[in-house]
């Protein structure tokens, strides 16, 4: 990949958002790069695994050993993008497709 591609693709992205906006009668001008790779230094690369709470089908039915494990990263002590749910119906589902 040539070094110039990312910058120029970013510029092209400005047009993309505008093009999407124009398609529906909008004049959008903002764009954020799609490639903001999260950075972090792992404090644990997977050696430590701990059992976690119950609730999911696998945890209830699993045969014993490692029904749910966790791999801790530096993000663990920061504000997480994912947290416990509110007591309401889910609005969307993430699944493979």
């Amino acid at each position: 990949m040539k070094r110039s591609r990312r910058l120029q693709a970013g510029l092209a992205g400005l047009s993309v958002v505008s093009a999407l906006g124009a398609a529906v009668g909008l004049g959008l001008t903002t764009h954020t790069s799609s490639s903001q790779t999260s950075q972090g230094t792992a404090s644990d690369t997977g050696a430590a695994q701990q059992a976690s709470g119950s609730g999911s089908r696998s945890e209830e039915n699993d045969d014993s050993t490692t029904s749910s494990r966790s791999h801790q990263s530096s993000q663990s002590n920061q504000s997480s993008p994912v947290s416990k749910p509110a007591n309401t119906t889910p609005q969307a589902t993430t699944s493979g497709s």
Binding site: G40, Q72, S80, S97
Partner: protein
């Protein structure tokens, strides 16, 4: 159109638009659907009239949207160290995935797994100018849907001023102000898989990659759509699914796809990069990475 949620069929899967203000649902849906239609026309591998389908070896001037989608795919390749490679198009076709998934036969002639993946470094994009070498067939399936979710969520939020969540075949992007209790999301790949619920922070995205869905058979051998570019074969199904949260859906899907390809090394790879993620193994056990919360049953 009433309420805060609108669901519809999309690309042999389902999609949803969720808004925080019921009054703007119709506008948001119009924006999102128009954007998704444009993405499909730009990069569908299965539509003969798509811009991507018309690309032949040589130099091309791409539309701004296809340039963005190809750029996103190349960024994903670079960020993943080549694990998520858009040059797997001809490999997927050789494996039998040569038409929309619902049109594939239940089984077929055996395939030979000697095909190699050309490699993303052979593709050059300068702004909207694409240099596509002979023998390279692009497949943007790993990133285009996620990028579409990012773009359309942002466009709809800009158009309405409301908070918007776009779910495109399980790839979720959010933009604008969130609901009071945050975006509530269910994670479950298939009815056989463990389900969990969580709150997704405003402006974040989440994506799931699966070895269970989009699978077919050739010569009695089960194949799936996530190709390991190192072997030119479907990734070993260590994980049934991998779910990753990230600032953008394109990044989330890049990481979840890479995790599936990495197999046993996935949890460490994700943790090293600070991702919050959830993996489900073949015994339906959940592995949490980073700050993914303990499971709360759906």
């Amino acid at each position: 159109m009433t309420g805060t949620t609108y669901r519809f069929e999309l690309w042999t899967t389902t999609a949803a638009v969720v808004v925080t203000d019921p009054a703007v649902l119709g506008t948001a849906v119009d924006v999102v659907r128009a954007g998704l239609d444009r993405v499909e026309l730009a990069c569908s591998r299965f539509r003969p009239d798509s811009e991507l389908a018309g690309l032949t070896p040589g130099t091309h001037r791409l539309s701004p949207l296809l340039a963005d989608l190809v750029g996103t795919a190349l960024d994903a390749a670079e960020a993943s160290g080549g694990l998520v490679d858009p040059t797997v198009g001809s490999t997927l076709r050789a494996l039998g995935y040569d038409r929309s998934i619902e049109l594939l036969p239940g089984d077929g002639a055996p395939v030979s797994l000697v095909h190699h993946v050309p490699g993303w470094r052979r593709v050059h994009l300068y702004g909207d100018k694409l240099e596509l070498p002979l023998g390279v067939e692009l497949d943007l399936g790993a990133t285009a849907k996620a990028r579409a979710a990012d773009l359309t969520a942002r466009a709809a939020a800009e158009a309405t001023g409301a908070g918007v969540l776009v779910e495109a075949g399980g790839d979720i992007a959010t933009a604008g102000p969130p609901p009071e209790q945050g975006w509530q999301v269910l994670v479950q790949d298939s009815p056989d898989d463990p389900a969990g619920r969580f709150t997704l922070a405003a402006g974040w995205a989440v994506a799931t990659s699966s070895t269970v869905r989009r699978a077919w058979r050739r010569g009695g051998v089960r194949l799936h759509h996530i190709v390991d570019p190192r072997t030119a074969a479907p990734a070993a199904p260590v994980w049934r699914s991998a779910t990753v949260a990230a600032p953008s859906c394109a990044e989330a899907n890049t990481a979840s796809t890479a995790a599936v390809i990495l197999g046993h090394d996935a949890a460490t790879w994700l943790a090293d990069r600070g991702y919050t993620a959830r993996l489900v193994d073949q015994r339906h056990r959940v592995v949490r990475v980073g700050a993914w919360p303990q499971e709360v049953a759906a």
